[in-house]
């Protein structure tokens, strides 16, 4: 049984969390993290019924946690309430699928051509909207069924062993990005292999399915702990996966001492790819054989909320600043509003765009050639909201290497 979180006692009611909450800022009707978290938690423990549809509007961005001067686990308190929240039947059914992108991905990649074609059809999107309230305003990312391999697969492996955790997006929508990530790792002295795991579980938690999230946590922990115990690091290129591996597993597996310890070992050895490369640089081992720049590349960096919440500084931004020819600015303009599956929900779509509007304006003012961000759904939202191309920092860095350095 999970322990009660008593950090609600730390709340001094300063409401800094409310000023940092992107939902409160964009949508004042939202009660805010102070209310949904520590305030209602006191009531919940009194046995007062506190369920509200507003719990569905928490983006899980963790900005409240970062803003809190008193160490209240605000987003955790809200997440636990979310897990007990009762939804309408339509939302329940839809969110069941959204909580399982791994399953969805597997199904969609059986015949990706057909899936992608169907998802592009008006009538299909119309039906999805009518039956499941999935907004027709957005394009679904296309599904691809190729595997993630390094070009040098099959040859002798050298370097520090790392296990690459792809996440559902890379696995089912952009395996090529996964290949690029592996390449980047190889170029920097690592010997990467791809973890055979499923979804990290973030979408399950976000959709209030704590049971599924726990299942995901257990499966992932069991499949990766051996490698970790043998000294390998786990590397992620998706901020949300990274956040989950670093924080979520141990939390969900509380109550099972052995699993919890395994989860803690996994967390202690999980690195964001950018974070890992910065550590390489600190150790003098970063591959800096960059191609001299032909033209200037004007970029803007958007730090995903789940990147900020990992407390590792701004590794990708600081790396890309050093790439010749790259002119990059840190937008620091708030949450994009997508929050994974959130922005796909029809009733949430307008607010999702409202939350991101500040970022969109900032991008328009900056007028970069592309926005760099390591979160796939941030990329989707940015492209959808501004029309500006969004790319993963892996690709920017990889492209910068000399042709010779790539072999």
């Amino acid at each position: 049984m999970r322990k009660d979180d008593i950090s609600l006692d730390n709340c001094l009611k300063c409401a800094d969390c409310n000023t940092a909450c992107p939902m409160v800022t964009a949508h004042p009707a939202y009660p805010g993290p102070k209310r949904l978290g520590p305030e209602l938690e006191r009531m919940r423990r009194e046995g007062i019924e506190c369920d509200t549809d507003w719990l569905e509007y928490c983006l899980g961005c963790h900005r409240c946690d970062l803003a809190c001067p008193s160490e209240v686990n605000v987003s955790e308190l809200i997440a636990r309430a979310k897990a007990l929240h009762k939804k309408t039947p339509v939302r329940k059914m839809r969110d069941w699928w959204f909580a399982r992108p791994g399953l969805l991905g597997k199904l969609m990649t059986i015949a990706p051509g057909i899936s992608n074609f169907a998802l592009g059809l008006h009538p299909v999107r119309g039906a999805m909207s009518a039956a499941m309230k999935i907004t027709p305003e957005r394009r679904f990312p296309s599904y691809k069924s190729s595997s993630i391999r390094t070009p040098a697969d099959g040859t002798a492996k050298q370097g520090e062993r790392v296990v690459f955790f792809p996440g559902c997006y890379i696995q089912y929508n952009d395996p090529e990005l996964g290949c690029h990530a592996l390449q980047l790792l190889q170029l920097n002295g690592f010997n990467p292999e791809v973890a055979s795991t499923g979804c990290c579980g973030v979408p399950s938690l976000a959709n209030g399915d704590a049971v599924e999230a726990r299942k995901r946590a257990e499966a992932n922990v069991n499949s990766m702990v051996e490698a970790v115990d043998a000294g390998a690091k786990i590397v992620t290129a998706c901020s949300s996966c990274g956040h989950m591996l670093k924080t979520g597993f141990a939390n969900l597996l509380e109550g099972d001492a052995e699993l919890e310890k395994k989860a803690e070992r996994i967390a202690a050895n999980t690195f964001d790819l950018g974070e890992l490369l910065v550590a390489q640089q600190d150790a003098g081992k970063l591959n800096t054989r960059f191609e001299p720049a032909a033209t200037k590349l004007k970029l803007a960096y958007h730090a995903p909320c789940h990147q900020k919440s990992q407390g590792m500084g701004r590794p990708w931004y600081n790396l890309l600043r050093q790439v010749p020819g790259v002119e990059i600015v840190d937008l620091n303009s708030g949450c994009c509003g997508m929050s994974g599956t959130f922005g796909f929900k029809e009733e949430k779509y307008p607010v999702s765009m409202k939350v991101g509007s500040e970022l969109f304006e900032s991008i328009r003012n900056n007028a970069p050639q592309a926005v760099v961000t390591e979160c796939a759904t941030c990329q989707m939202q940015i492209e959808h909201g501004t029309g500006v191309k969004a790319m993963h920092p892996v690709d920017v860095l990889l492209n910068a290497y000399k042709e010779s350095a790539r072999n």
Partner: protein, 538 residues
């Protein structure tokens, strides 16, 4: 000049219970209370509706009374009672012979109890120490002391009774050895008043001795101080007692969103000027963590103390606070002053019984042949479904539930107010979910329990009772008082400064944990940032 049959001095549970009982018997009465309702021991206790388990070994009589009254109060005032149930926990450090004694004693007086294994007890209450030996269940419950007192008063007022708060009795008028009237001073307005009456009931608790002196009569009262700690959130669902001889810090009572740990027993010279020492607090915390280890990390919101007014019959004047019976004494001072009666001692759980004894005596004196019916008549009519439905349409779930619990049938008036002015649905006390409508109701004229200070508002609505201790909502309450014309600007400022003083006092004794920071924040805000507190001239 006012005139009535009976003047009751003391607005605690006993006094309020007497007012109600008299009203039911058609006897006119006015109650005078020097502070706000439940200012004395009533408002400063655990809020425990005793099952009797605490007294069952040493004082079977008192325990039997509790068993009976517990049932009655649940019947007449269900809205004041939260049926949390209770546990008497067998702690490893305590005497196992006592556990047996306790269980047997309960059986003898028909106190329903059942023994649970340690595992079963921990399954119900995970925060108990993991090394307990077991626990006994019992029908302990939480009783909202303010609501109980207020309900008695409200119901009495509905039948024509009257009461005055912030009116201190200055003299008892006696002519030819008979009570003629009572002189009082309104401490807020400075006005003096006089009420002519036939009977004066001294129900002044810790002040009973002083009131008796006004009548030239001696009523020895031992003031026994108990200190209690309020914890920010519920650490248990049930009342948790330690199964041992009654001692310090051995009861934890869930009370609304908070829980209350207590208490101590220290003889003090009088009911005022109470202070709490650091040693006392440490002592309570040490003992408390033996019963509930989670206390070590829990946030103490407030520390308060009250005085048990113990009647000291001449035979036991040397005994300690817990040894004097918790039974009560009804003193008819006929021999010295006709028409002057004192009721002393007792405990909250038996307030109704005490009131009954007094009123039976008074009825006899006045020749009123109406028996007591307070064991039957409900203290608050139920709420109507229509109001509840309407409330749900206007307010979020938890706000409806909290408001309903606090205000009962007054919810209808609150709902109408919001329907007329939708802005009143705004929550102004965010810790306790109090709406502007409820706040204005408490400050307004439609309530039969007018609030004269911001702290009074707190006692009627729980505004300011949460973690911020009024820092954020006290100001809004003050503004509401100003806007509704209750206070002019200067009065409102004074009210707020007073309020801050009172709120700050209860936190000033806390020396560690988050509340220290909360208090600092409050001082910083109203001291430095708004430069308010020092500037208000008195």
């Amino acid at each position: 000049m006012e005139k009535t049959q009976v003047v009751i001095i003391g607005g605690g549970a006993t006094g309020a219970g007497i007012l109600w009982d008299l009203a039911l018997r058609g006897i006119s009465a006015i109650l005078l209370e020097q502070g706000d309702l439940a200012n004395g021991a009533t408002g400063r206790c655990h809020g425990l509706l005793h099952s009797g388990g605490r007294y069952v070994v040493k004082d079977a009589e008192a325990a039997k009374e509790c068993v009976a009254e517990n049932r009655i109060i649940r019947h007449i005032a269900p809205h004041c009672v939260e049926d949390t149930g209770g546990l008497f926990v067998e702690c490893r450090q305590d005497d196992p012979k006592f556990f047996e004694q306790w269980f047997e004693a309960c059986k003898k007086i028909d106190l329903p109890t059942e023994r649970l294994s340690a595992d079963a007890a921990l399954a119900l209450e995970p925060n108990l120490p993991t090394d307990i030996l077991g626990a006994f269940t019992c029908p302990d419950a939480h009783i909202d002391v303010f609501l109980l007192t207020q309900s008695n008063i409200e119901s009495a007022v509905a039948r024509g009774a009257q009461f005055k708060t912030y009116c201190a009795v200055k003299g008892i008028d006696i002519e030819n050895g008979r009570v003629k009237g009572v002189r009082y001073l309104d401490t807020l307005t400075g006005e003096e008043g006089y009420i002519g009456c036939e009977i004066v009931i001294n129900a002044a608790g810790g002040w009973a001795q002083r009131v008796a002196e006004l009548a030239g009569v001696e009523v020895p009262v031992r003031c026994d101080k108990g200190t209690l700690l309020v914890l920010n959130h519920r650490l248990s669902k049930r009342v948790i007692n330690r199964c041992r001889k009654p001692g310090d810090a051995d009861i934890l009572v869930p009370s609304g969103p908070v829980c209350i740990l207590g208490t101590s027993s220290i003889t003090v010279p009088g009911p005022e000027g109470l202070t709490v020492s650091e040693e006392e607090i440490q002592h309570l915390m040490e003992l408390g963590t033996e019963l509930m280890p989670a206390l070590a990390e829990a946030r103490v919101l407030r520390i308060f103390c009250g005085v048990r007014p113990l009647y000291v019959p001449p035979s036991v004047s040397g005994a300690g606070g817990r040894e004097i019976s918790r039974g009560f004494a009804l003193l008819d001072h006929e021999a010295t002053v006709k028409g002057f009666v004192s009721i002393v001692g007792g405990k909250l759980t038996t307030y109704r019984m005490m009131a009954k004894a007094v009123c039976n005596l008074i009825a006899e004196k006045l020749g009123v042949n109406v028996p007591c019916t307070t064991h039957e008549v409900l203290l608050r009519p139920g709420n109507d479904a229509a109001s509840l439905r309407a409330a749900h349409a206007l307010l979020p779930l938890p706000v409806v539930e909290k408001t309903h619990r606090r205000q009962g049938s007054n919810l209808a008036k609150i709902v109408s107010a919001i329907q007329a002015r939708p802005e009143l649905a705004e929550v102004v006390c965010e810790c306790e979910l109090v709406t502007r409508a409820e706040l204005e109701f408490a400050l307004g004229t439609e309530t039969s329990l007018p609030a004269k200070t911001i702290s009074d508002v707190g006692r009627r609505t729980r505004l300011g009772f949460g973690p911020c201790q009024g820092t954020f909502c006290g100001f809004k309450a003050m503004l509401a008082g100003y806007q509704t014309g209750r206070w002019n600007a200067a009065e409102a400022s004074r009210q707020f400064e007073c309020y801050l003083d009172q709120r700050w006092k209860g936190q000033s004794w806390i020396h560690q944990g988050k509340q220290v920071e909360q208090l600092y924040l409050s001082h910083d805000l109203f001291g430095v940032a708004y430069n308010f507190h020092d500037q208000e001239g008195r």
